[in-house]
Structure formats: structure tokens, C-alpha cells
Amino acid sequence: MVAPGAGRRRETWSVVRVAVAGLVAGALLLMSACGSASDKYVTNKAAGVYVRLPDGWSQARVQEPLLIGLDARQLSPEMYSLLRQIDWLTGIDASGNEKPNVFNPAAEQPNGFVQVRQLLPEEAKSISTNDLRDLVVPIDQSQAAQEELVRKDPVSARLQPAFLLILEESVKKGNGVHGVHLVYQLSTSTGLVTFDQTSLLDSQQTVLYQLVMTCTALCYAQYGSSVTSVQHSFTVNPTT
């Protein structure tokens, strides 16, 4: 015969077990929240642009357009305000600083930006895949200058190149997104710096997607794999 209180006792213990399990789950949840993953993803769902950053990298939205590839002197105030409205730019930095370096080639840690920009009508009319190469540094010109230097002084120009195109590949992604991926070295006053530059256009050629990372050549040699993983994660799914 079961004692009258036995049923209640069993019920009590089952409730206690549930409560303890709940508390443990809650505690785990809170603990897991301590490890931050919010900086890991550069996300622009509106434009359909996603980048995954390695642990320790930081990101920050930049309100001002960088004007890379545009001649600021020819920019009217109206165009500038228009650019502000149509430009989405996020700086990324491997140093993990809250205020990341945005495109500082002399930095010791990889940094750069992810950009989405609605092309200005005159740009959209004339832009080609080839033009994408010259958006940060005029590649063809720089290569020609380097060849000229090699021709003049083949040894020192090759030992200390002013410009060295390491990688150039065309990129074709889904939904007609296409462009180029370039890796090149450039000699500057602060020393040799490396650029990893991916420039893409949507199928209509109206929106420009850019992922540009840079740091010193030494740093690139050190963090090249991280930069490459970031570059590989660069995903564009145009929403329009």
C-alpha cells in the first residue's frame, strides 16, 4: 500500500528537478552570453552583404563615405549628400579596437572596410569590370610604371618593387554578381604595404560591393590566412 503522502512527494521532487534544471539552463545561457559573437559578423541584410570576421576583430559603421575611386574635387555638395544616403560602409580591424582603423595601410594589423554603394547614374552607365580594378589604386598605370622601372634598373626595381600584383582573379557569384579580386603590394613612404581588394557589381551593374583590407607587407605575411578567410566569407545576395 502506497503511503498517502508518497504521490505528493514524488510530484514535489519532479517539480524540484524541473526547477533545478531550469536554473542550470538559465545559468548556462547567461554564461554563453558572456562570450561575444556580435562583432563576428558584418551584416547588411538590406543590401544582402555578409562578412564573417575572425575572433578578436572589430567592426564599426562609418557614417561618412570614403570617396574612394571618386574625385572629391569634382564632387558637388548635393552629390556628397546623395552619397551619404546611398552609401553603407563598415570599417573592420583585426586589432579589435572599438574605433577600428578604416583603411590604414601602415597599420600592423589587417584593417579595411566593407562598402555597398549605389552607383551614381553617370558611373553606372560607364563602369566596366576593368574599371573595378582601378578603384583603389590604378593597377594598369602602376604596373606600367613598375615595368618602366624594371626596364631602367632591373635589379633594384625587382628587389624593391614599387608595385607588385600578387593575385588577380575574376569573381563570379550567384545572382549575376561579378567582379575582381586583387592582391597587390605597393611601396609607400611608410614602407611596403599589401592590399587585398574585392570589388563586385550586381547583375544590373548599379550597385558596387567592395571588401578592401590592407596592412604592411610584413603584417600581411603574418595574418594572410585571416585576411583570406575574411575575403572568402564575403557573401553578396542582392535583395533587389
Partner: protein
């Protein structure tokens, strides 16, 4: 004893169990089980956890969705950081559930929280009085609302809440143009409605300022008593200190009621002309509106105007003409044929009647469906009181509510009539208009003005009391019984004056006034006689009669009104135009005889009344009639007078039987109905028979069978006996006046219509205005008349070859001349 069996359930409550066991051991009655929280259902335990958990899952899923790079783990981690508050809520809910759970198991824990923690907090809270707690909670609600708004705003502008506080004013400033646009839009949208209703709430109200109206009190003739009362009210309005200084107040309302055309509006116009205050005339249809609520707006706007005028000019008079158009709330719920409410309604009417005086006036033709009361003679020969009794009786049996001299009638059997008498069944204006009017007339008077209400209050000063608005409301109606009872209460309409038919002096003055505008050859005596004859003449009917007389004169190619024109006009106006119908000769004779009998009995017996006219011209269903008018304004009837009325009624039957060998027409039916009713009513109410009891009271007010008063003789027998007695008396009168009956019969057959003066002339053998009565008193006349009557009698019996030829009196006159020529009579010349 198993500790787990203790009421607390948990081993932790062993102490309580032990205490209880000890109590039991001491022989004390077992105490109530220690209090614990009632166990919650499993759903109540988990519902919030599920809700918050589901919300958290949702935000995690939202993080993952659309981002091809995102892993669930990262999304979980990201949301755990960004949506930490959800996890916090989950934690709080879990802690709460643990708290509840322990409370369900452990009595000390439960008691600690309910008594010590919450109980003390509550006690502390209750130390604050209700008003302070209300204020604190109101302040807390405001603060929380503002904080939530600030939080949302901060999230929207991506700022911290502190920065957002700084940002708010500048953002508000920059949002002002938008706000102004919205306000402008609202103003336009709302303004359209305001404008529409403003326009609709205007109209129907005319303001007259002193000297705009030329009518004076002296223009109101024959209503001196009402004029003096109204003057008194206007005096108080213009000199309020006379009454207010002595502790009274200026009467605020006057109701003028009475038959149409008696000068109510004229009196109001005279008030406008005499007063030094603005006079606002409100149209009867002013509060009728197409849309609901406009009537109310109109009332409000009217009273705003009245208050303004009252303050500016020290007083104002508002006159509502045809006030019955304001309606009666009682009718709204009444509807048609709702018998259950009739008694209440009749009570209300009775109450109203007492307001309006014991001898309330009532226009029978408005509501009573008395169109068939024409009978033989259309009741014209009855006195007013007798007529009113019959009318009141008929009205009550027909369903209307009689307002006879005996007070209100019985409950209605046909509500439709009353509804018709009111406002077409829907009250005046639209719903709420009357109520708005009532409220405005004696509602709360609020302090006036922005300065007074806001600024003074803000400075902590008491607002000045509302000023005394001296508004005199005058209303005029000919249907006082259709007014709402609440409208007539003191404080709204303080005074009710009956504007009845004008006095004789007033009528003389009115006749003289209107006759002065035309050419006429009436003497003062004739004017006085005219006024005497027309006891119920009003200003309007007198004006109309004079105009009709002028029309008659013009028709005859004259410009000057004669006495005959006036008499003809009166006949047309009072009795209408006769049909173009020629009676066959036999019938003409019997009808003339019938009317002559009425006229002879009336002439010989009536006091205070004279015959106005007698006619055998057909008017609708009436073959002919004898009409009498009062020459004195008596208030009560004597028993003997009622008997005379009955005899006048019976005269037709008596005469027909007397002259037609006991035969009579069915045309006497109406007369007999009147006679029977008058007799039975007088027996049952006024001790006219052998008993004294008021049978009506027994029947109506007491549970006594009135038959018990004189059980040996049925009531009908008593009535019949009385009628028989009066019949015999009438017979005596007619037998003694056979000559006069035949004379009047001849005159009626000859002239169709003769005036009262003609009747008098024939009866007395004098010269009348249209008939020379002397001829009927010549000795030959009776033979000729008897001969003619016998030929008519033969024709009536159906004898062949008996043709009727109405004898011409010229022949009689000629015969008389021949006979008297030799006897040197000098009266011949006058017989022509």
C-alpha cells in the same frame, strides 16, 4: 507520524506539525492547517517561461535568417548579449516560480512574505491617504510613460537615453513644421464640421431691439387682465431691483395659452414694442433640423445669445411662438396603441389640467374625431357648457382627452388622437432638443469668461459667481396639453396665463377698430349687438368677418358695409356656405317645422342667450339648424337651464309628432342623443333627478356599483322619466305657440335662412332686418298657414294630387289691405 503527511507537506514544516501534535496532546481542539499558497496549475507555472523562451528563440531565428554565414551558436551568443533583457525576464520569472513553489510548500515562508514583507509594505502604503496615493501613482505613471517614450526614442535615433534627453528639444523644434502641418490638417478637417454645424445652428431666431416694433399694449384689445399680468412681468424685468431688493427674483417664464387667434402673438409683439430690452423671437421650426444634435446646438447657441444680450442690456425677452412644437418627451416612449401607458398619461394630463386651471380650455375639433357630431342641428342651439359636456363625453368615448369644464376626460381609448395633438409622435425637434432647452432654462450656471475661470483660479482666487441673467421666456401655444410637464414647472415657466376670448368691451373695440378701416353704416348699437352675439370672436375672426362683409358688399356693387352684410358674413364664417341643394317641398316643410320648433322653444325659454340664426339650407349632412349665442358670460349652468337645453333639444321631436300626427323623422336622433346625455349626466352628477349622490364618483372613484343608489328604479328609467316630463313641458310650450311655429316655418321656407333678429321680429310681430314679422301676426295668416300645413300633411300621408304651394304673404298682405281699406286703417302703408 509521517512528517510528509503534515499539512505543510514538506519536512521543513516539521516544527508546525510538532506544534500541532502538541496541541492535540494537550487536549486542545486541532488548529486550522497552517496557511500555504494554493498550488498553481502547471500551465500557470510555465506560461511566462514559454512566452519568454519563445520570444528569445524568435530573435535568435531572426538573427540566423537571411544571413548565410551565421551559425546558430553565434546567433544564440549574439542575441544573448543584445536581447539580454529577455533572459533576465526568464530569470526573474524562474525566481518567481521558485518563490511560489516554496510558498506552496512552506507555511512559514508563505506567512513571512505575505505578512512581513508585503503586509508591512502595504501597511506603509496605507499610511498615505487615498488622495496622496492617487497622486503618487499618477506621477509614477507619468514618469514611466515618459521613460518608455524616451527609451523608444533613444533606440530610434541610436543614442543613449541621456543623449536622447538632450536631443529631444532640438528634434521637437525641427519637428514643429510637421506638427504644424498636422495641426493645420486637423483644423481644416474639424473646421469643416464646425463650420457646417455652425451654419446649421443659426437661423430661426430674430432679435428685435427697442423701437424696432411699433405694436403697443394699447393695440391688444379685450385682454386687459392678461395684459396687466404681462406688464407686471415686463416691469420686473426692467426694474429687477424692485423685487430682487426685497428678496425675490424676477419671474423667468410666462406661458400664454388659449384658442387660436386670441392675440397671444400680438401680446408678445406688444411686449416687444413696449419693452426697453432686446426681444428675441424664436420661430416654431427653429429647432427642427435635418441632423441629430443640431437642435441641441441651436438651443445652446440661442441661450448663449440670450445670456450675452441679458448681460449687455440688463435683460432680454425670448418668445417661443407655437411652443407646442418643442414637443413632449412623454410621447417619445408612448408610440402608438400602447395601452399600458395610457393611465399614466391621463394622470399626467390631469396634472397638467390642474396647472392650467379648473376650467381648462380645449379645442375639440383638434383631436376628438367629432366630425359626426353634426346630427340634426350640429349642437348649435346648445349652450357652451352643454355643448362642452357633450363634446367632452364624445371625446372621452372616442378616445381623446376632453378638457371640458368638468376637468380632464377619461383615459384614452385611441392614443393616435393624442399623438396627433402633440408633435406627430416624435417630440419637437430631434432627440435631446427639449432636454437641452430644459437644462438651459434652469440648468447649472457656470462662471463666465477665460479671465474669471482660468486666471483667477490659477492665482488661487475664487471665481466670481455667475452673473444674474435676466431672461424672460415667453411661450405661446394653443395646445398647452402637448407641452412637456417639466417645461411648465416653476423656475422655468413660472406663470401661465390663459388668453381666452376677448371681453365684450374688447370685441366692441376690435370691431370698431376694423370697421374704422372700411366704409360702413353700422350704428354703435349694432356694433354692440354684434359684439354681444359673437362671444367667441377673436381679433382674427373679427378682422375676417369685417373683411367678408366687405366682400359681400363689393359683390353687391357697394362700397359701404351694411348690417345685412355683416350678418351674412357671420353666417358664412361661423357656419360655412350652404350646399347648392333644394329640398323637395314636403321635406322642406318638415325641416322648417323641425327648426321652427327648436327656435320657438329656445326663444320662449332660454335666458342669457339669443337666437343667432335659423336656417334650412343644407350644409353637408346638416339639413338645417338653429344657432344661439350667449349674450352674457355666465360660468355655471343651473338645473333649470339644463332642463331648458333638454327641452330645446326635444322640441324637434315634440313638434314633429304634434304637427305630423305622431310621426317623426330620424332627424331627431342627434337631438335625442344630446338630450339623453345631458339628462343622464345631470342626474348622475348634479342631482337633477330624484337622487343626490354623484353616480360618477361612485362609479369612478369608489368600488361601489352606482346602481345601488336607487336599486328599485334602473338608471335608464329615471332618465326616461325625466325626459318624459320635459317632453310634456315642451309639448305645452309648443301647443301654446302653434301660431309662432307655423310663422317661423313659413319664414324659413320662404327665406331659407333668417337671422335671430328676424326670429325675434316674427315672434313679436315687429319688423326685422330681412323679414317683416308683422305680417305673421295678421289674423288671416294662421288660416293660410294651417291650410298649407294640412296640404303638407296630406302629401306626407301620400294622398294623391295634393300639391304643395307655399303661400306668398304678399297675397295675405293684399287680402289684409282689402279688408282694412274700408276700416280706414293707417297701418297698411307699412305692410309693403
Amino acid at each position: 507520524m509521517d512528517l510528509s503527511d503534515l499539512p505543510g507537506g514538506l519536512a521543513g514544516t516539521a516544527a508546525e506539525g510538532a506544534a500541532e501534535a502538541a496541541a492535540a496532546a494537550n487536549g486542545l481542539p486541532p488548529a486550522d492547517p497552517p496557511p500555504v499558497r494554493k498550488p498553481a496549475a502547471i500551465w500557470d507555472r510555465i506560461k511566462f517561461l514559454l512566452l519568454f523562451g519563445a520570444l528569445f528563440l524568435f530573435v535568435v531565428a531572426a538573427q540566423v535568417s537571411g544571413n548565410p554565414l551565421m551559425t546558430w551558436g553565434d546567433a544564440f551568443s549574439i542575441e544573448a548579449r543584445s536581447s539580454w533583457w529577455l533572459l533576465a525576464l526568464i530569470g526573474v520569472e524562474m525566481a518567481r516560480q521558485v518563490h511560489m513553489f516554496i510558498g506552496e510548500r512552506s507555511s512559514p515562508y508563505y506567512v513571512f512574505w505575505t505578512d512581513r514583507v508585503f503586509g508591512r509594505a502595504e501597511k506603509r502604503m496605507l499610511r498615505l491617504d487615498d488622495w496622496n496615493r492617487f497622486r503618487a501613482s499618477r506621477a509614477a505613471k507619468w514618469i514611466i510613460t515618459l521613460l518608455v517614450a524616451l527609451f523608444i526614442y533613444a533606440r530610434v535615433v541610436h543614442l543613449s537615453m541621456f543623449d536622447a534627453v538632450v536631443q529631444v528639444p532640438s528634434d521637437l523644434w525641427s519637428a514643429i513644421p510637421l506638427l504644424l502641418q498636422v495641426v493645420l490638417l486637423l483644423v481644416i478637417v474639424v473646421g469643416q464640421f464646425v463650420a457646417i454645424f455652425w451654419f446649421m445652428s443659426k437661423g430661426g431666431v430674430e432679435v428685435y431691439y427697442p423701437d424696432d416694433v411699433k405694436t403697443r399694449f394699447t393695440d391688444v384689445w379685450g385682454q386687459d387682465h392678461v395684459v396687466s399680468r404681462v406688464k407686471e412681468n415686463v416691469f420686473y424685468l426692467e426694474h429687477p431691483e424692485e423685487i430682487e431688493g426685497k428678496g425675490g427674483y424676477v419671474p423667468g417664464g410666462i406661458l400664454l395659452w388659449g384658442p387660436p387667434g386670441t392675440g397671444k402673438t400680438l401680446l408678445a409683439e406688444a411686449v416687444a414694442g413696449e419693452t426697453g430690452k432686446p426681444y428675441v423671437f424664436i420661430d416654431p421650426g427653429a429647432f427642427q433640423a435635418m441632423f441629430m444634435g443640431v437642435g441641441i446646438l441651436k438651443v445652446k447657441s440661442l441661450f448663449r445669445k440670450l445670456r450675452k444680450l441679458a448681460l449687455r442690456y440688463g435683460g432680454v425677452i425670448a418668445f417661443f411662438d407655437e411652443a407646442d412644437s418643442l414637443g413632449n418627451r412623454g410621447q417619445l416612449s408612448q408610440g402608438f396603441n400602447r395601452g399600458s401607458e395610457r393611465a399614466a398619461s391621463s394622470h399626467r394630463t390631469a396634472h397638467l389640467a390642474s396647472h392650467l386651471g379648473a376650467h381648462g380650455w380645449r379645442a375639440p375639433s383638434y383631436a376628438d374625431g367629432l366630425a359626426d357630431l353634426t346630427g340634426c342641428n350640429g349642437l348649435h342651439y346648445l349652450t357652451d357648457q352643454a355643448k362642452a359636456e357633450v363634446v367632452g363625453h364624445r371625446a372621452s368615448t372616442a378616445g381623446g382627452l376632453g378638457f371640458g369644464p368638468d376637468g380632464p376626460g377619461r383615459p384614452s381609448g385611441r392614443t393616435v388622437n393624442r399623438v396627433v395633438a402633440g408633435m406627430g409622435g416624435m417630440g419637437g425637434g430631434d432627440m435631446g432638443t427639449l432636454q437641452a432647452l430644459l437644462a438651459e432654462m434652469s440648468g447649472l450656471k457656470k462662471p463666465r469668461g477665460f479671465l474669471n475661470r482660468v486666471v483667477r483660479r490659477a492665482l488661487g482666487m475664487k471665481p466670481k459667481p455667475p452673473p444674474k441673467y435676466r431672461i424672460l421666456i415667453m411661450m405661446a401655444t394653443n395646445m398647452p396639453n402637448s407641452l412637456d410637464e417639466a417645461l411648465l414647472r416653476p423656475g422655468r415657466i413660472d406663470r401661465q396665463y390663459e388668453v381666452g376670448y376677448p371681453s365684450k368691451e374688447g370685441r366692441i373695440k376690435t370691431y370698431e377698430g376694423y370697421l374704422a378701416k372700411v366704409k360702413h353704416e353700422l350704428t354703435d348699437d349694432q356694433v354692440e349687438r354684434l359684439a354681444t352675439m359673437s362671444t367667441e370672436a377673436t381679433g382674427a375672426t373679427i378682422k375676417d368677418t369685417v373683411n367678408e362683409a366687405l366682400t359681400q358688399a363689393i359683390k353687391d356693387g357697394r362700397e359701404v358695409i351694411t348690417w345685412a352684410d355683416i350678418l351674412r358674413a357671420r353666417v358664412i364664417k361661423e357656419h360655412g356656405l350652404p350646399d347648392d341643394h333644394e329640398h323637395i317641398e314636403r321635406e322642406r316643410h318638415s325641416i322648417a317645422l323641425h327648426e321652427a320648433c327648436h327656435a320657438v322653444v329656445a326663444y320662449r325659454l332660454q335666458r342669457g342667450r339669443v337666437i343667432d340664426m335659423a336656417t334650412i339650407e343644407r350644409r353637408g349632412g346638416v339639413g338645417g339648424f338653429v344657432a344661439s349665442v350667449n349674450v352674457e358670460d355666465s360660468m355655471f349652468q343651473w338645473k333649470s337651464e339644463v332642463e331648458i337645453q333638454v327641452m330645446v333639444s326635444l322640441a324637434s321631436l315634440v313638434g314633429e309628432r304634434m304637427f305630423f300626427d305622431g310621426d317623426n323623422t330620424v332627424g331627431v336622433g342627434g337631438d335625442l342623443r344630446s338630450a339623453t346625455y345631458l339628462v343622464s349626466r345631470s342626474i348622475s352628477m348634479a342631482a337633477m333627478g330624484d337622487t343626490i349622490s354623484s353616480w360618477l364618483t361612485l362609479a369612478n372613484d369608489l368600488p361601489i356599483n352606482p346602481i345601488a343608489v336607487d336599486a328599485d328604479r334602473p338608471f335608464g328609467e329615471q332618465v326616461e322619466a325625466k325626459l318624459q316630463a320635459l317632453y310634456r313641458r315642451t309639448e305645452d310650450v309648443l301647443a301654446a305657440n302653434r301660431h309662432e311655429v307655423l310663422a317661423l316655418t313659413h319664414a324659413l321656407e320662404t327665406h331659407k335662412t333668417i337671422t335671430g333678429e328676424d326670429v325675434e321680429a316674427i315672434m313679436e310681430g315687429r319688423e326685422g332686418p330681412t323679414v317683416d314679422g308683422r305680417r305673421y301676426h295678421e289674423p288671416e295668416f294662421l288660416d293660410i298657414a294651417e291650410e298649407y300645413h294640412h296640404s303638407a300633411l296630406r302629401a306626407h300621408r301620400g294622398a294623391n294630387g295634393s300639391e304643395l304651394h307655399l303661400p306668398e304673404l304678399d297675397r295675405v298682405a293684399a287680402t289684409a289691405t282689402d279688408q282694412t281699406a274700408s276700416s280706414s286703417s293707417s297701418a297698411v302703408a307699412e305692410t309693403d
